[in-house]
């Protein structure tokens, strides 16, 4: 669903809502997957992102997002220099993520490392600053960043979804969407839960403390 504020917005540093603002938002989401600014990031650009990204500052925008800068942060212009200073080791490459027509022309795969956590995220910049994450750690997802989102991996234990839903509702959080995928039966379950409001640190800690949860992170809402 499109919001008026997706159209009249974002307020952003130019020049491109797909290649600058959208790219920045994808960087922010990748950062969320490892709980903070990564130590290392490998960014593989596909399609138009790869071909015109340099002139649009796509590399700066993604680096900025990885460091927590939002699309209207004027530090985006010098994000690469700041990344050097902050110790974010980044590399960029051009790649093909799939066939034309099947993969959005502005797509990117970002691999981030922070401490003992590594995450691989594939996403697209849809235009006008809107984004869609399509894969996290090999699991297919549809995360638009339009909601505060909880992403977690758990052992495929019976009652796990109900347990987590209860923790969230006990905290007064309303679930907008919940998606559960498994790569195989009895394998890990990957959950993406979009919420009407951001879950508190306490809620996240409670979920992480569940013995069958391997990891859980919050992706802050990136849109208006």
């Amino acid at each position: 669903m499109v919001s008026l504020l997706d159209i009249i917005g974002p307020v952003m540093v130019g020049p491109s809502s797909s290649h600058t603002a959208g790219a920045c938002r994808l960087g922010l989401l990748a950062r969320g997957l490892v709980g903070g600014t990564p130590e290392r990031a490998h960014v593989e650009l596909h399609g138009s992102f790869a071909r015109t990204g340099e002139g649009h500052g796509t590399d700066k925008a993604i680096a900025g997002g990885l460091m927590g800068f939002r699309p209207d942060d004027e530090r985006l212009r010098s994000a690469l220099e700041i990344a050097e200073r902050e110790g974010l080791a980044y590399t960029f490459a051009k790649t093909t993520l799939g066939e034309e027509g099947l993969v959005h022309p502005n797509s990117v795969r970002i691999t981030v490392d922070r401490g003992d956590r590594e995450a691989v995220m594939t996403g697209s910049s849809l235009g006008a600053g809107r984004v869609m994450v399509t894969e996290i750690d090999g699991y297919p997802v549809e995360v638009s960043g339009g909601y505060d989102t909880l992403v977690l991996v758990a052992e495929d234990v019976r009652g796990s979804v109900a347990r987590i839903a209860n923790i969230l509702s006990d905290d007064g959080l309303n679930i907008a969407t919940l998606r559960l995928t498994r790569k195989q039966r009895g394998g890990d379950a990957f959950m993406v839960i979009e919420l009407d409001h951001a879950p508190s640190e306490a809620v996240r800690d409670e979920i992480r403390a569940l013995e069958w949860v391997r990891w859980a992170f919050r992706l802050d809402k990136v849109s208006a």
């Binding site: 669903m1 499109v2 919001s3 008026l4 504020l5 997706d6 159209i7 009249i8 917005g9 974002p10 307020v11 952003m12 540093v13 130019g14 020049p15 491109s16 809502s17 797909s18 600058t20 603002a21 399609g47 138009s48 071909r51 015109t52 990204g53 340099e54 002139g55 649009h56 500052g57 209207d72 004027e74 985006l76 212009r77 034309e100 959005h104 022309p105 502005n106 910049s125 849809l126 235009g127 006008a128 600053g129 809107r130 009407d196 208006a224």
Partner: protein, 292 residues
């Protein structure tokens, strides 16, 4: 949010209200935010838009590549053309101003995209200035514009990589035409015709940025986009009806975009980007950017 302009127009007529009200109500229902809150966000956007216009008109900005800058001021200062002293001339300068700020990595409001960010602010603030309309009227117009853009996003695309410049300055022209028409007192039906009249003038428009930079021809396409929007507003307010409904024109824009060769969809592989001069400038200027 509405997925067709026809249904939004029908809702406005049924409630005997404006598309702006219909848009704000829908947004409030979708997001849980109050209408005041939403108007507050639009007011903030308007402030940034006005700031970008002012910054660009100062004339001292140049893009990182050096390819664009200074033309908004040049146009505003010129006394030679046929539109000197008219709102039309003023709107063109405003459109160039915002885009020059964008090209210099300044802060703008994507409306709907950064590539087309000059069209809507130029048309709405230019018309508001000439008619002495208060900010409230412009904020409402932004809501109308948002509704139109949301319909384009749902039915077609707002990305040059998918739809060419039809989807960026073209969509912006449609938004500006519809919103401007309502701001000047047009009916919901007239808004529909204005959108159709603007979009029909931008069908087939390619995205061919030199060197892949959002500079040339982008800055100038915002001026020509604003011009198309003004033409559409003029015709719609005269009661002129376009025979094909706006939703169908928008759908057509989407289909043409899908059929468009990839070289015309933001890859700098065709169009002006591939001209001898285009290629030469790209080579020279990208080297300049790498050095800076």
């Amino acid at each position: 949010m509405y997925r067709s302009l026809a249904s939004a127009i029908a809702a406005a007529k049924a409630a005997n209200t404006t598309l702006a009200q219909v848009a704000l109500t829908a947004e409030s229902e979708d997001s849980g935010r109050s209408i005041d809150d939403i108007r507050g966000a639009l007011a903030r956007a308007l402030g940034i838009m006005r700031g970008a216009i002012e910054r660009g008109l100062a004339g001292d900005l140049r893009s990182a590549s050096g390819l664009v800058g200074g033309d908004a001021a040049k146009l505003a200062a010129s006394t030679n053309g046929p539109l000197v002293g008219t709102v039309f001339g003023d709107v063109l300068a405003r459109a160039l101003a915002v885009q020059e700020v964008n090209a210099a990595m300044g802060v703008i409001v994507a409306a709907p995209t950064a590539g087309g960010a000059g069209v809507l602010p130029a048309v709405l603030t230019g018309l508001a200035a000439s008619r002495h309309l208060a900010d409230d009227a412009v904020i409402d117009a932004l809501a109308t514009a948002g509704l139109i853009g949301a319909v384009v996003a749902e039915r077609a695309s707002l990305s040059g990589a998918e739809g060419g410049c039809q989807a960026e300055t073209g969509a912006a022209a449609g938004m500006a035409a519809g919103a401007g028409t309502e701001m000047l007192g047009g009916t919901p039906d007239q808004v529909g015709h204005a959108v159709a009249l603007a979009q029909q003038g931008t069908l087939g428009l390619v995205c061919d940025p030199l060197g892949g930079l959002v500079e040339l021809p982008c800055v100038f396409r915002n001026a020509t986009g604003a011009a198309i929007a003004l033409a559409a507003i003029e015709m719609a307010l005269a009661g002129i009806a376009f025979a094909i409904p706006a939703d169908e024109v928008i759908d057509t824009m989407g289909e043409i975009g899908q059929e468009m060769d990839v070289r015309y969809r933001e890859t700098a592989g065709g169009g002006l980007a591939a001209t001898p001069t285009g290629r030469r400038l790209a080579r020279e200027r990208l080297v300049q950017i790498k050095r800076s």
